[in-house]
Symmetry: C2
């Protein structure tokens, strides 16, 4: 391998990141070392800053650098809508879409009896408390279209039944999607939710 | 996007690493932030250490943390063989093979008239000087089997002609390789270099 312990340790550590393996970690580390003044040192400093400041928003579970995140402190987004997502990555994906103007609630996973993940692990009590304390009119369940995601959505819907309007994301053909490449479930969901032109 | 500038900046920076894109950078950064005490902070410190200490070996061009790398200072490896490689990644690949017991010389690229890469840019003069000053008997040209790699190998062979034994890596079927998946060039090279059983 390389001639020194620190470089090997850095490669090992990078190789454990999701999406990287030993080969791509070696490439990335070599690239960083070649541009160490321009890239490696600034990256190290930025990582340390983020490590020191990153925290979960106490209200919604989003990741930011303040006790309460920018979305929760933004008064313009108090429109009575809460979008429930499984994960911070899903929240970021929704934000990239720029279509949702309300606030979020990050569950941090899905219910799973096998893995002993109950409602209290998932910030579901915090969601119910928010619905009571904030002036919430609609809860959008934007959970993944997996068995676990839908089970969790059903559980939350049961808990909130009658207290707010409950909605979920529409299912259908993705924009730019080709029918030939779609799975049968998506096609039948899109067909049964067909709209009049 | 995420609620803060530093996190966005970290994602942007990670996304520019080879092998990562915006999506995988987001995943990696989220993973790091979730395990910030265990992963992000140690990774930041390690990167800073490597940024401060990593340097190219003054003799062979390998990357390490000392003026002269471990391979060049190891007296056991002064066996009269120098293996010439294009890149530090190639040197590391050779070392993983654990078959070569001599020393290396990293060119740092290949000759290219178009990109104005001449012999002096590529540490070729340093290689010729080493052949004169060290007791070198064999130079193994382990350059990539590309047009540029082979052009560079020919140039070096011309310069060293008659002064040392010149060899190159054997070409043929890779271990575990299936003929059906090999390109025509490899098959014809393997056929013309066939060995008697």
């Amino acid at each position: 391998m390389s001639s020194t312990r620190d470089i090997d340790a850095l490669i090992d550590m990078m190789a454990r990141l999701p999406g990287l393996g030993p080969r791509s970690a070696r490439r990335a580390v070599l690239h960083l070392i070649r541009k160490r003044a321009l890239l490696l040192s600034p990256l190290a400093k930025l990582m340390q800053t983020v490590a020191d400041t990153a925290r979960e928003c106490a209200t919604c579970g989003n990741i930011g650098t303040t006790e309460i995140c920018d979305i929760c402190t933004n008064a313009k987004r108090a429109n009575g809508q809460i979008c429930v997502v499984e994960d911070v990555a899903d929240l970021w994906a929704m934000e990239r879409g720029q279509a949702f103007k309300g606030r979020y609630h990050v569950l941090g996973g899905t219910l799973s009896a096998l893995d002993q993940v109950g409602p209290e692990v998932l910030r579901i009590p915090a969601l119910l408390a928010r619905v009571d304390s904030e002036a919430i009119t609609e809860v959008i369940l934007a959970l993944n279209a997996t068995v676990e995601g839908q089970t969790t959505a059903h559980y939350i819907a049961d808990q909130l039944d009658g207290r707010v309007t409950l909605t979920s994301l529409a299912q259908g053909v993705p924009i730019g999607g080709e029918l030939d490449y779609l799975d049968d479930g998506t096609i039948s969901a899109a067909l049964s939710a067909r709209k009049r032109l």
